[in-house]
Amino acid sequence: DVKVTQSSRYLVKRTGEKVFLECVQDMDHENMFWYRQDPGLGLRLIYFSYDVKMKEKGDIPEGYSVSREKKERFSLILESASTNQTSMYLCASSSGSGNEQFFGPGTRLTVL
Protein backbone atom coordinates (compact mmCIF):
# COMPACT_ATOMS: atom_id res chain seq x y z
CA ASP A 1 0.00 0.00 0.00
CA VAL A 2 1.43 3.37 -1.04
CA LYS A 3 2.31 5.74 1.70
CA VAL A 4 3.19 9.37 2.25
CA THR A 5 3.98 10.27 5.82
CA GLN A 6 4.48 13.62 7.47
CA SER A 7 6.50 14.14 10.59
CA SER A 8 3.77 15.71 12.71
CA ARG A 9 -0.02 15.96 12.62
CA TYR A 10 -0.06 19.02 14.85
CA LEU A 11 2.66 21.56 15.55
CA VAL A 12 2.70 24.75 17.59
CA LYS A 13 5.55 27.22 17.14
CA ARG A 14 6.33 30.78 18.11
CA THR A 15 6.87 33.72 15.80
CA GLY A 16 10.44 33.86 14.58
CA GLU A 17 11.20 30.18 15.13
CA LYS A 18 12.70 28.05 12.39
CA VAL A 19 10.30 25.26 11.49
CA PHE A 20 10.99 22.02 9.64
CA LEU A 21 8.21 19.94 8.14
CA GLU A 22 9.31 16.55 6.92
CA CYS A 23 7.67 14.37 4.30
CA VAL A 24 8.64 10.82 3.35
CA GLN A 25 7.25 8.63 0.56
CA ASP A 26 7.88 4.94 0.04
CA MET A 27 6.85 4.67 -3.62
CA ASP A 28 10.13 5.70 -5.29
CA HIS A 29 8.33 8.69 -6.84
CA GLU A 30 10.29 11.31 -8.72
CA ASN A 31 7.96 14.21 -7.91
CA MET A 32 7.14 15.65 -4.52
CA PHE A 33 5.03 18.65 -3.59
CA TRP A 34 4.25 20.94 -0.68
CA TYR A 35 0.87 22.66 -0.46
CA ARG A 36 -0.86 24.75 2.12
CA GLN A 37 -4.59 24.68 2.62
CA ASP A 38 -6.61 27.53 4.06
CA PRO A 39 -10.38 27.93 4.37
CA GLY A 40 -11.86 29.47 1.24
CA LEU A 41 -8.58 29.32 -0.66
CA GLY A 42 -8.28 25.62 -1.43
CA LEU A 43 -4.86 24.06 -1.90
CA ARG A 44 -2.03 26.30 -3.01
CA LEU A 45 1.28 24.97 -4.25
CA ILE A 46 4.31 26.23 -2.33
CA TYR A 47 7.17 24.29 -3.92
CA PHE A 48 7.69 21.11 -5.84
CA SER A 49 10.63 18.90 -6.73
CA TYR A 50 10.98 16.59 -9.72
CA ASP A 51 14.31 15.07 -8.74
CA VAL A 52 16.84 14.96 -5.94
CA LYS A 53 18.29 18.43 -5.31
CA MET A 54 15.90 19.94 -7.87
CA LYS A 55 13.13 22.32 -6.87
CA GLU A 56 10.75 24.76 -8.45
CA LYS A 57 8.64 27.51 -6.95
CA GLY A 58 4.92 27.11 -6.83
CA ASP A 59 2.40 29.90 -6.47
CA ILE A 60 3.26 31.04 -2.95
CA PRO A 61 6.95 30.34 -2.22
CA GLU A 62 7.59 33.51 -0.20
CA GLY A 63 8.67 32.77 3.34
CA TYR A 64 9.43 29.12 2.58
CA SER A 65 12.33 27.05 1.35
CA VAL A 66 12.67 23.34 0.60
CA SER A 67 15.27 20.63 0.62
CA ARG A 68 15.44 17.33 -1.26
CA GLU A 69 18.65 15.52 -0.47
CA LYS A 70 17.19 12.04 -0.92
CA LYS A 71 14.57 10.83 -3.34
CA GLU A 72 12.15 9.73 -0.64
CA ARG A 73 12.32 12.85 1.54
CA PHE A 74 11.14 16.41 0.89
CA SER A 75 11.42 19.01 3.62
CA LEU A 76 9.64 22.32 3.92
CA ILE A 77 11.42 24.99 5.94
CA LEU A 78 10.02 28.14 7.45
CA GLU A 79 13.13 30.20 8.19
CA SER A 80 11.32 32.57 10.53
CA ALA A 81 7.76 31.55 11.22
CA SER A 82 5.07 34.20 11.18
CA THR A 83 1.44 34.10 12.28
CA ASN A 84 0.21 34.26 8.67
CA GLN A 85 1.87 30.89 8.10
CA THR A 86 -0.60 29.23 10.43
CA SER A 87 -2.19 26.69 8.12
CA MET A 88 -2.61 23.05 7.13
CA TYR A 89 0.42 21.83 5.20
CA LEU A 90 0.05 18.89 2.84
CA CYS A 91 2.79 16.91 1.17
CA ALA A 92 2.22 14.82 -1.97
CA SER A 93 4.19 12.67 -4.38
CA SER A 94 3.68 11.36 -7.90
CA SER A 95 5.51 9.17 -10.35
CA GLY A 96 5.48 11.49 -13.33
CA SER A 97 3.90 14.42 -15.08
CA GLY A 98 0.15 14.62 -14.81
CA ASN A 99 -0.01 11.43 -12.81
CA GLU A 100 -1.96 10.77 -9.68
CA GLN A 101 -0.66 12.55 -6.61
CA PHE A 102 -0.63 10.72 -3.31
CA PHE A 103 -1.11 12.94 -0.29
CA GLY A 104 0.04 12.66 3.27
CA PRO A 105 -2.32 13.25 6.21
CA GLY A 106 -1.25 16.86 6.65
CA THR A 107 0.40 18.91 9.39
CA ARG A 108 -1.66 21.55 11.11
CA LEU A 109 0.80 24.27 12.05
CA THR A 110 -0.09 27.03 14.48
CA VAL A 111 2.28 29.97 14.84
CA LEU A 112 1.69 32.03 17.97
Partner: protein, 114 residues
Protein backbone atom coordinates in the same frame (compact mmCIF):
# COMPACT_ATOMS: atom_id res chain seq x y z
CA UNK B 1 -1.51 28.67 -16.05
CA UNK B 2 -5.05 27.41 -16.32
CA UNK B 3 -7.27 28.30 -13.38
CA UNK B 4 -10.44 26.49 -12.51
CA UNK B 5 -13.88 27.60 -11.35
CA UNK B 6 -16.28 25.32 -9.49
CA UNK B 7 -19.46 25.86 -7.54
CA UNK B 8 -18.69 26.53 -3.88
CA UNK B 9 -21.22 24.00 -2.62
CA UNK B 10 -23.85 21.50 -3.71
CA UNK B 11 -26.50 19.51 -1.91
CA UNK B 12 -27.87 16.14 -2.89
CA UNK B 13 -29.81 13.20 -1.48
CA UNK B 14 -28.76 9.61 -1.13
CA UNK B 15 -29.22 7.57 -4.28
CA UNK B 16 -29.13 10.55 -6.63
CA UNK B 17 -26.60 11.16 -9.38
CA UNK B 18 -24.45 14.21 -8.73
CA UNK B 19 -22.75 16.23 -11.47
CA UNK B 20 -20.10 18.80 -10.54
CA UNK B 21 -18.91 21.04 -13.34
CA UNK B 22 -15.55 22.76 -13.49
CA UNK B 23 -14.64 25.59 -15.87
CA UNK B 24 -11.09 25.89 -17.17
CA UNK B 25 -11.21 28.31 -20.08
CA UNK B 26 -7.43 28.68 -20.36
CA UNK B 27 -6.57 24.99 -20.37
CA UNK B 28 -3.39 24.25 -22.31
CA UNK B 29 -3.13 21.70 -25.08
CA UNK B 30 -1.21 19.22 -22.98
CA UNK B 31 -3.06 19.68 -19.68
CA UNK B 32 -4.80 16.78 -18.00
CA UNK B 33 -7.99 17.24 -15.98
CA UNK B 34 -7.99 15.50 -12.63
CA UNK B 35 -10.48 15.34 -9.78
CA UNK B 36 -9.73 14.74 -6.13
CA UNK B 37 -11.88 14.05 -3.09
CA UNK B 38 -11.03 15.27 0.39
CA UNK B 39 -12.56 14.40 3.75
CA UNK B 40 -11.97 16.58 6.82
CA UNK B 41 -8.57 16.11 8.45
CA UNK B 42 -7.29 14.00 5.56
CA UNK B 43 -5.23 14.67 2.47
CA UNK B 44 -6.98 14.70 -0.93
CA UNK B 45 -7.48 11.42 -2.72
CA UNK B 46 -7.38 10.90 -6.50
CA UNK B 47 -10.74 10.06 -8.07
CA UNK B 48 -10.35 10.23 -11.83
CA UNK B 49 -8.31 11.79 -14.60
CA UNK B 50 -8.94 12.44 -18.28
CA UNK B 51 -7.73 14.32 -21.32
CA UNK B 52 -10.74 14.34 -23.62
CA UNK B 53 -14.16 12.73 -24.19
CA UNK B 54 -15.28 10.40 -21.41
CA UNK B 55 -13.50 8.41 -18.77
CA UNK B 56 -15.16 6.00 -16.36
CA UNK B 57 -13.85 4.03 -13.41
CA UNK B 58 -15.41 2.18 -10.51
CA UNK B 59 -16.34 5.33 -8.59
CA UNK B 60 -17.03 8.10 -11.12
CA UNK B 61 -17.24 9.30 -14.69
CA UNK B 62 -15.56 12.33 -16.20
CA UNK B 63 -17.07 14.08 -19.18
CA UNK B 64 -14.92 16.45 -21.22
CA UNK B 65 -16.38 18.30 -24.23
CA UNK B 66 -14.43 18.75 -27.43
CA UNK B 67 -13.25 22.27 -26.58
CA UNK B 68 -11.99 21.03 -23.16
CA UNK B 69 -12.92 24.36 -21.54
CA UNK B 70 -14.97 22.59 -18.92
CA UNK B 71 -15.39 19.15 -17.41
CA UNK B 72 -18.06 17.38 -15.37
CA UNK B 73 -17.48 14.89 -12.61
CA UNK B 74 -20.41 12.51 -12.32
CA UNK B 75 -20.98 10.49 -9.15
CA UNK B 76 -23.65 7.82 -9.60
CA UNK B 77 -26.03 7.09 -6.74
CA UNK B 78 -24.29 9.00 -3.99
CA UNK B 79 -24.33 7.90 -0.37
CA UNK B 80 -23.78 9.81 2.87
CA UNK B 81 -20.11 8.81 2.76
CA UNK B 82 -19.67 10.84 -0.44
CA UNK B 83 -20.06 14.02 1.60
CA UNK B 84 -16.70 15.69 1.03
CA UNK B 85 -14.81 18.43 -0.76
CA UNK B 86 -14.17 17.84 -4.48
CA UNK B 87 -11.35 19.54 -6.34
CA UNK B 88 -10.90 20.00 -10.06
CA UNK B 89 -7.32 20.22 -11.17
CA UNK B 90 -5.71 21.03 -14.51
CA UNK B 91 -2.08 20.76 -15.43
CA UNK B 92 0.71 18.28 -15.86
CA UNK B 93 2.45 18.11 -19.20
CA UNK B 94 1.81 14.86 -20.99
CA UNK B 95 4.99 13.03 -21.84
CA UNK B 96 7.22 15.40 -19.95
CA UNK B 97 9.71 14.15 -17.44
CA UNK B 98 9.07 17.24 -15.34
CA UNK B 99 5.77 17.79 -13.69
CA UNK B 100 3.94 20.90 -14.77
CA UNK B 101 2.59 23.25 -12.17
CA UNK B 102 -0.74 22.04 -10.97
CA UNK B 103 -3.46 24.37 -9.76
CA UNK B 104 -6.22 23.30 -7.42
CA UNK B 105 -9.43 25.30 -7.54
CA UNK B 106 -11.30 26.33 -4.42
CA UNK B 107 -13.22 23.09 -4.43
CA UNK B 108 -16.88 22.15 -4.17
CA UNK B 109 -18.35 21.05 -0.86
CA UNK B 110 -20.82 18.27 -1.55
CA UNK B 111 -23.35 17.58 1.18
CA UNK B 112 -25.34 14.36 0.77
CA UNK B 113 -28.49 14.21 2.85
CA UNK B 114 -30.46 11.14 3.88
Amino acid sequence: LAKTTQPISMDSYEGQEVNITCSHNNIATNDYITWYQQFPSQGPRFIIQGYKTKVTNEVASLFIPADRKSSTLSLPRVSLSDTAMYYCLVGGEEGSSNTGKLIFGQGTTLQVKP
